[in-house]
């Protein structure tokens, strides 16, 4: 096994690599978002959406997608298979071509999310070490055809979403739920689950926090520019139990939990979280509850849409997507003949 020192040396080498070619995002239909979807034919694809919600481009996917990660500079995105997938596709959103196919190393599968680090030179992915059930963060060299660079422990079981904070700190939602490909998506450790939020710098865990209730799986996270991380929770208690639905944490501070009154309406399940573009409000979506809560720190507004799940920052506010094809942006709504999959990814433009 590779030592951390060797791994960092390899990472360092990649960080020094040549400048990237950057035919930016603007050239291609001006997408502002990415979202995976199922089409009426039953086929799956990754779409680029404009700020107004129109389709900017479409790239077919071999199987159901989940989330995507957008390269910060190149018109390039990684589409992740729905867990427990073993592939991720690096897509040239310009030509709709598949540039690379990432295969999970032997004994690993992807958990559905990833994030770019170091100005787009490194891609980090959440993975399962199948034999032990330990979470892993895999690193891939985006400057060298996405060669596998190495991996580090994620700090828990079942890492789902990973996001990059300033200074290349990674925040990882270790959902706490062990799954095994042999039993599909079945949860194997409900009695002993202990989710956490872990922060990694240079591949090492610098902080790890747990919430008071271990039955709340921390699955989706969103970071604000000031480092405040919002966590969307999924309750493994009864769906009607009033348990917190989201939590906040910043490095070095004590986490706070919120939204217990929302739990029965949400049926205990948050599908996605996003800060508004101006950072003033947090949106948490509840596909089972068919609604989203938009919270400004004191008051909560409710948005009703069936199968609402995707949310991303847009302008000063938010954009939403749902399983019936709706795209709701700051400027209005559009409907497409697809079922939008769980996540809407903002390109930050």
């Amino acid at each position: 096994m590779r030592s951390r020192r060797a791994f960092l040396a390899a990472t360092g080498a990649a960080f020094g690599a040549a400048a990237l070619p950057a035919p930016g995002w603007a050239a291609f239909g001006d997408p502002a978002f990415l979202a995976a979807a199922r089409e009426p034919t039953g086929a799956f694809a990754l779409f680029g959406l404009t700020a107004g919600g129109a389709i900017a481009f479409r790239v077919p996917l071999p199987k159901r997608g989940h989330a995507a990660a957008a390269h910060p500079l190149r018109a390039e995105a990684v589409a992740f298979a729905r867990r427990p997938g073993t592939f991720a596709l690096v897509i040239d959103c310009a030509g709709g071509r598949i540039l690379h196919r990432l295969e999970a190393p032997s004994g690993r599968h992807f958990y559905g999310h990833g994030a770019y680090l170091d100005g787009g030179r490194v891609l980090a992915t959440t993975e399962n070490a199948i034999d032990t059930g330990d979470g892993r963060i895999g690193f891939w060299d985006a400057t060298a055809d996405y060669r596998r660079m190495g991996e580090v422990p994620s700090g828990g079981i079942g890492p789902h979403e990973v996001v990059a904070l300033a200074d290349d700190v990674l925040a990882v939602a270790n959902g706490g739920l062990r799954t095994h490909p042999a039993t599909g998506r079945e949860k194997l450790n409900l009695d002993t689950m202990r989710p956490n939020l872990a922060y990694l710098r240079d591949g090492a865990i610098v902080e790890r926090i747990e919430l008071p209730d271990p039955k709340l799986s921390i699955r989706h996270i969103a970071a604000r520019a000031d480092g405040m991380v919002a966590m969307g929770l999924q309750s493994e208690r009864y769906p009607v139990d009033s348990v917190p639905m989201f939590a906040l944490h910043r490095l070095g501070q004590v986490p706070t939990v919120h939204g217990a009154d929302l739990a029965p309406l949400f049926q205990g399940c948050v599908g996605s979280v996003a800060w508004s573009g101006d950072g003033q409000r947090l949106a948490v979506t509840a596909p089972r509850g068919g609604r989203a809560a938009i919270w400004n720190g004191t008051d909560t507004e409710i948005l009703y849409r069936p199968d609402l799940c995707g949310v991303a920052p847009a302008g000063a506010g938010h954009a939403f997507t749902d399983g019936t094809g709706g795209v709701l942006t700051e400027t209005g709504g559009m409907k497409h003949a697809v079922a939008w999959d769980n996540h809407l990814v903002g390109l930050g433009r």
């Binding site: 199922r38 009426p40 789902h160 699955r219 399940c269 999959d341």
Partner: protein, 125 residues
Amino acid sequence: MLSGLEATADQRLGGPLGTFDRPRPARAELHRADLSLPMVRAALVSLRDQAAALVDAPRTDAALARAIEQAGAIDDPALAGVADPASRIRIEALRTSVRDAHDTAAEEIGATLGVPAGFNSADGD
């Protein structure tokens, strides 16, 4: 169409039904004109036409036909019977049928249009 069924179940019927301990007959739509139940029936008939115009959805059509028949069999135009346990049960049954029609339509028509309900909500992330 789905929101029409939801409104019929939750507002036109749910409003006057209130709770068992606290029925709200005065909340029935147009109850002074004795048009509450006719409104429910008219809504169901027009929603059935609408469903038929969308796609071929036999199960939805049957579910709506059942609800319309039930509405026709209740002789209480102002829905005043919500306050009486004996007649209330038939109005509750009608609401259940409207909700069933809603769920059937969501599934059947959604599937035919290629957007099954619950793409995200059905099976987690």
